[in-house]
């Protein structure tokens, strides 16, 4: 009892919430029979700084309350104080396992708001980098998931493959993680022949590597016994909670924004959407593994179809001019100064634009009042919404399975906490 009096306000709130889930229980009861424990924020299996407060009866989890916000950096508020261009590097830091996909998602929202037409080549390049970063993101997800349930080898192998993607990004964008590659109206730099060669080489050898780690896990008895039937998320609950991405498709809902509302040129590409009906941790794993294969299929097709042409739109009032022209032409120089100092000034209005990120639906809602700064900026981050499923699916599971469940939900706290 003493202990709870001295607990700080936020702890008291969580404890109240835990107790509220079972109105018959008093604090005395709880101390008598049940235990309230903390998991995280400094726990290696919580994928960053997620904190879970769990009420246990023996080893069974009675209820769980996730506590978020340890990595909160105020990205939505910060956006209101910077121009649309300046915000691009911040999108790298949302879902840091798939930075390119975030870059693409953000600039697409701004382009929709400002009505900028993007050249075809740039759109194909965006698809290539977005899918590559989906592969990278899923490799991290699958690898760390396997690590969480005790398979260290798979983790090493997926990270080895992912490293090659980071090297490709290094070549394309100039940085491994903090890519900041897309620009409003296009992409920062064109793909050179060396980069295309690297992507092809990677994809060719990736097939074997993928098969190898699938062999390691898919028929692994320990892995399957550990995950089958664990953390079942029923279809209706998944929809009601607003779960998106692989977690939703693992529950038997075929919803992928790339198909439902095609953006870029996904409607010209042939790919499948893997769906599993079981809704348990194993199903979520299988969705990711299958998506890895589908993504590499998409990249192959994009490389074949990659058209020639400019990579930046030609719109002097909204898109940064080419460097050559800034050096030599007065008008472009003035536009450069105007754009940097005052921003792109999109028309008054609001826009919501969402894309299918590795973790789910990443959406940006931007309200513009006609100035260079957004008036209101909202990020619909998939990890944040997916985490809402935790209290439901952890209920009545063993405490050791909570680790597996978090791994299968695959939250990235940079995105959940914004």
């Amino acid at each position: 009892m003493e202990k709870y009096h001295s607990a700080n306000l936020s702890d008291q709130r969580i404890i109240d919430a835990l107790i509220a889930q079972d109105p018959d229980i008093t604090i005395e009861d709880a101390l008598e029979n049940e235990m309230i424990i903390n998991m995280g924020p400094q726990h290696p299996a919580t994928h960053g700084v997620l904190r879970l407060v769990a009420r246990l009866d023996g080893e069974t989890v009675m209820s769980v309350v996730p506590e978020l916000g340890y990595l909160h950096r105020g990205y939505e508020k910060m956006a209101e104080n910077m121009t649309y261009l300046e915000y691009i590097p911040h999108t790298d830091r949302l879902d840091y396992t798939s930075t390119m996909a975030n870059n693409v998602a953000y600039v697409m929202a701004v382009e929709k708001l400002a009505g900028i037409e993007v050249p075809k080549r740039a759109q194909y390049i965006r698809m290539i980098v977005a899918e590559l970063s989906r592969i990278a993101g899923h490799l991290v997800a699958v690898g760390t998931f396997a690590l969480d349930v005790g398979a260290v080898t798979a983790f090493m192998w997926t990270f080895r493959e992912r490293e090659k993607i980071q090297n490709i990004f290094d070549r394309i964008a100039g940085a491994r993680f903090t890519t900041s590659y897309t620009r409003i109206g296009g992409v920062a730099s064109d793909l050179d022949s060396e980069a295309i060669k690297m992507i092809k080489e990677f994809l060719d050898q990736y097939k074997d590597a993928h098969e190898e780690f699938e062999k390691l896990l898919n028929t692994n008895r320990i892995f399957i016994d550990r995950l089958e039937g664990i953390g079942i998320l029923p279809k209706e609950d998944a929809i009601n909670l607003g779960i998106t991405g692989p977690n939703l498709r693992g529950s038997g809902v075929e919803y992928d924004i790339r198909r439902a509302k095609p953006y870029l040129f996904y409607n010209e590409i042939d790919f499948n959407i893997p769906v599993y009906n079981e809704g348990d941790s194993l199903a979520r794993y299988f969705v990711r593994v299958d998506e890895l294969k589908e993504s590499s299929k998409i990249v192959y097709q994009c490389l074949d179809k990659l058209p020639q042409g400019p990579t930046m739109a030609n719109d002097a009032k909204k898109v940064l001019p080419k460097k050559e022209e800034i050096y030599t032409k007065m008008e472009e120089l003035i536009h450069d100064f105007m754009l940097v100092n005052f921003g792109i000034n999109p028309p008054v209005g609001d826009v919501y634009s969402a894309v299918e990120n590795p973790k789910g639906e990443l959406g940006f809602y931007i309200v513009s009042n006609g100035t260079g700064y957004p008036w209101k900026f909202k990020i619909r981050s998939p990890s944040f919404c997916n985490l809402q499923a935790l209290p439901l699916i952890c209920k009545n599971q063993m405490i050791s399975d909570v680790v597996a469940i978090i791994g299968s939900i695959d939250p990235v706290m940079g995105e959940a906490d914004k």
Partner: protein
């Protein structure tokens, strides 16, 4: 709907532990003879491509000093507010020069925006990624550390002209 059955039904052989363990060990052995994927860092150095964004540096011409005209555009665009420029006048052809040009390397996030907006090709990203300091004051790079002769930056400048 592309609902698939997951390949999980194990046959009797896969259900036994011993053969699985032997299989695992063979795999381990096989991997021991694969090429190494890591790099022995301080002995072996990573040589970045021209597209690499290392620390931002100021371009120094052979005899004319820095190219920068202290327009302040880089410091305006910098998302991390890392750059401080103070302009002054000079008798040289360009008329203006930065009296003080500082980049706080603790703030810099290597985004490359300064390079992208500079109208004079005066600030570019170098290949230097080894940044160490023993205290915070050392992390504020002044003109003495930022100025780099143009010859050393030629491939980045070529890259900018071709791909940006």
């Amino acid at each position: 709907m592309a609902v698939k059955k997951r390949a999980k039904d194990l046959n009797i052989l896969e259900k036994l532990y011993i053969p699985e363990i032997v299989k695992g060990m063979t795999l381990t052995l096989k991997n021991m003879f694969r090429p190494r994927v890591t790099m022995e860092y301080p002995e072996q150095k990573f040589e970045p491509p021209a597209s690499y964004r290392g620390r931002p540096v100021l371009v120094q011409e052979q005899d004319a000093g820095e190219r920068c005209v202290a327009c302040g555009l880089c410091s305006r665009v910098c998302p991390a507010l890392a750059i401080e420029v103070q302009a002054n006048e000079t008798d040289r052809e360009k008329e203006r020069f930065p009296e003080k040009f500082e980049i706080n390397m603790l703030r810099c996030i290597f985004c490359g925006f300064c390079e992208e907006v500079c109208p004079e090709e005066a600030i570019v990203m170098s290949k230097d990624y080894e940044l160490v300091y023993t205290n915070r004051e050392d992390a504020i790079y002044g003109k003495d550390k930022l100025l780099v002769p143009v010859e050393q930056l030629q491939d980045r400048i070529d890259y900018l002209r071709n791909f940006k």
